[in-house]
Symmetry: C2
Subunit: 239 residues, 2 copies
Amino acid sequence: MTAAPSPSQNHLLAALPAAEYEFLATHLEPVNLPLGEMLYEPGGQLQYAYFPTTAIVSLHYVMASGASAESAGVGNEGIVGISLFMGGNSTPSSAVVQTAGHAYRLEGGKLLQEFNRAGLMQRLLLRYTQALMTQMSQTAACNRHHSVEQQLCRWLLLSLDRLPSNQLVMTQELIASMLGVRREGITEAAGNLQRAGVISYRRGHIAVLDRAGLEQRVCECYGVVKTELKRLLCDVRYR
Amino acid sequence: MTAAPSPSQNHLLAALPAAEYEFLATHLEPVNLPLGEMLYEPGGQLQYAYFPTTAIVSLHYVMASGASAESAGVGNEGIVGISLFMGGNSTPSSAVVQTAGHAYRLEGGKLLQEFNRAGLMQRLLLRYTQALMTQMSQTAACNRHHSVEQQLCRWLLLSLDRLPSNQLVMTQELIASMLGVRREGITEAAGNLQRAGVISYRRGHIAVLDRAGLEQRVCECYGVVKTELKRLLCDVRYR
DNA sequence: AGGTGTCTGTACGCCAGCGTACAAACGGTC
DNA sequence: GACCGTTTGTACGCTGGCGTACAGACACCT
């Protein structure tokens, strides 16, 4: 395990004014999130909220048949565990670490306490949740209408935006289970991108060589999610 | 236009204790929602929130190509316009009346005011929003993995639960655009259900004859959404 | 260096749903 | 009662993605 990155690498924590941040800071606990770890499982009671800094977490639903599909991903722009303040303390979907890395976790009660102070943190959390809904609803539409290749591009771009480098550690098998498609479908789509010089693939490691190429192939869904996140979290201090 | 039903037909309004309800009641305004009316369009600023009583509203996204897909529906169990209190005051998706009927509308500022009192209304709204997210994420998974017939069953059951009778006023064309599939796909699926004696179809009118038959054919997604809504909104007074 | 398990590439038949086209049936209107 | 626009039914070829099967390639381990 390497040294934990600063909490301020998480956009929500970074957006807090000093006073509100101080309250939380003493309760934030750095954790290392290994690939595949399940932060919460369907129906299970949440203990902690997680603010990822370098990790990426996938929210997805696993069907009775074993098939699965991601509804949204959470990285350094957000928080895992919104049902702690939204209510219910659990969800039918699960949260699994998709890219290993660091996060800060916060005891559920503390988060709720801060939420109920109705300060900037509450506003931030609600706006982030709204952005998350956009991501979910866009995923629904994208699943319906767009090709595997387009969805792969969307997924790569969204992941890329949450990471410091252009490298992803990710097998095709894993991507397939996120998107809810066959592994072979990813092989084919990734092969196309590789041949076009957009990415380079090497046994569990993807390097994005030509980001513009991805953006050219991606469907509109990426832009919608991105723009909405920006809109909701940039002007958060005003109004 | 027939006489407006009581506000208490909306589950959120009905769950409010007298004191909180009184505050809102003076500002609630009955409105008639005709089929196809757009309550808000992508990116437009919201003026009002709507509490449906007999109407059903569909939240869906229309792509650049014209293709569309519903991410969730809202009936007497919920509220249209959550971005008023979640933040941002608009969404990339639109809200369109899917079943004509009545609703009560509330000026956005008044809703926000009530939300910020941090009473039971706030808890209700947040919990409902959480249920809505479940619906969206389940829709994403369902779009990915289930057949048109299964999705039609899910859609019929969800609509049925929001209506007093077993009759839906709904063309196949409209259902198709909600589910984001071809009209012919609905014709075929509905034909199967009709031959099986589960529904009867008559030029824009569907009667559900055998609810159990629908529940037998539907995918798990219906149950997940239903159970989660119940869990979140039943014990809302406690804790 | 060789072995082993994981990951990636390729192939092939299959089918649900798509796009397109057109016919039939219904129901409201004049 | 005839007309006409809307809604529903049917047909047909096409294709993207699925299920299955297997071979090659890579990285790690001993």
